[in-house]
Amino acid sequence: MEEGCSCIYSRMASRFSIGLLMILAIVLLMVRVLYVIYRCGKPLPKGVSQSFTTLIVLGSGGHTAEMLSLLSVLRKDRFTPRFYIAAATDNMSLQKARSFEDSVAEKPAVKEASQFMQIYRSREVGQSYVTSVWTTIVAIVHALWLMIRIRPQVILCNGPGTCIPLCVIAFVFKVLGIRWSSIFYVESVARVKKLSLSGLLLYKLRIADQFFVQWPQLHKKYPRAHYVGCLMIEF
């Protein structure tokens, strides 16, 4: 009788302790997530690093032109090495990025400072939702593989949907302590009154450390963003 009792007790105790451990783990994770959200948007201490591994997410047409416009005003020695990512179906963007890099390269020796990669998109325009479940899984695994290889410290993006999985993975890396990164999001100049879906997600979930908009109408609606005026510049 007594033996049976103690057996039940010990079983209950072990179940209890497993439950307790799980709750503890969840609480710890939540605390960590909250801490990461709190730390996002806080500037890094002065002189942390001379240069940052930078990931640049390119989109199609207008997006890429805007991104290269932004890159042209950043000091290249501070953002090096640079990794460019574009959708696998987008041939033009990486080509434009290559010619941009060629135009800024001081000498051929430092050419390796930049790399160009393609990423699978989760859903192409017009693709059915059923097949997009599978392609989304492939896209996420591919994004994870690229992020593990690059482990960026700075991410620059301005709106193409491909930046979402990359930024979410970057956030998970922050939570897990794999790599701390600063995410800068510049909403496209084409967005005047409403943010794009990517922009809205990164703003609301506070994944973007610094958020920039190019029209005063948007700044009114999203006060945490910096209003920087139109960035389409000559270079």
Binding site: P43, G62, S72, V73, L74, Q210, H226, G229
Partner: protein, 175 residues
């Protein structure tokens, strides 16, 4: 003939990477061609993308507007540079390419596109008088009433504030 070559004033029409047959049809309509000629334009060059509507080419031998077209080109900027007026779809790429080169611009919004946030940009830039903004079926009216002299030249933006914010955030000293 040489005189004509000297006084060459090109209207360049661009639809971007997709198709926009409604725009192509609108620019080659008799009304629009007449109005363009009345305003002293001599050539109409159309980048028609993936469209399936092929306009009739015209060499202008009878004194009418010269009409020519092509599908795609990697150097759209060169065409814009040599044009006296650009009629473009609402893509931000070609809008800013044209504005940066200081060419008068009419933006025609593609009403068939589902996600039509792009007309926001054209609307906002029209408010600032950088361009004219219209739809395919109102292109003629817009041409008729437009005064190219009243357009305000677009001054390219300044990226240094963004660079400064990013640099400070990352702990770099100001230069």
């Amino acid at each position: 003939m040489e005189d004509r070559e000297n006084a060459k004033r090109v209207v360049f029409v661009t639809v971007g990477t997709t198709s926009f047959d409604a725009l192509v049809k609108a620019v080659v309509s008799e009304d629009v061609k007449d109005e363009l000629q009345k305003r002293g334009f001599t050539h109409l060059l159309i980048q028609m993308g993936r469209g399936i509507f092929f306009p009739t080419k015209c060499d202008g031998a009878d004194g009418s507007l010269v009409v020519d077209y092509f599908t795609f080109s990697s150097s759209i900027a060169d065409y814009i540079r040599s044009a006296s007026l650009v009629i473009s779809h609402a893509g931000s790429g070609s809008i800013f390419e044209t504005l940066k080169l200081g060419k008068p611009l009419i933006v025609v919004v593609n009403e068939d596109l589902m996600d039509n946030h792009q007309c926001e940009l054209a609307e906002a830039l029209e408010e600032r008088k950088h361009l004219y903004y219209t739809r395919p079926h109102t292109l003629y009216q817009t041409l008729k009433k437009m005064e190219l002299e009243s357009l305000v030249r677009y001054t390219p933006g300044d990226g240094t504030p963004v660079a400064r914010i990013i640099d400070r955030f990352l702990g770099f000293p100001d230069d």
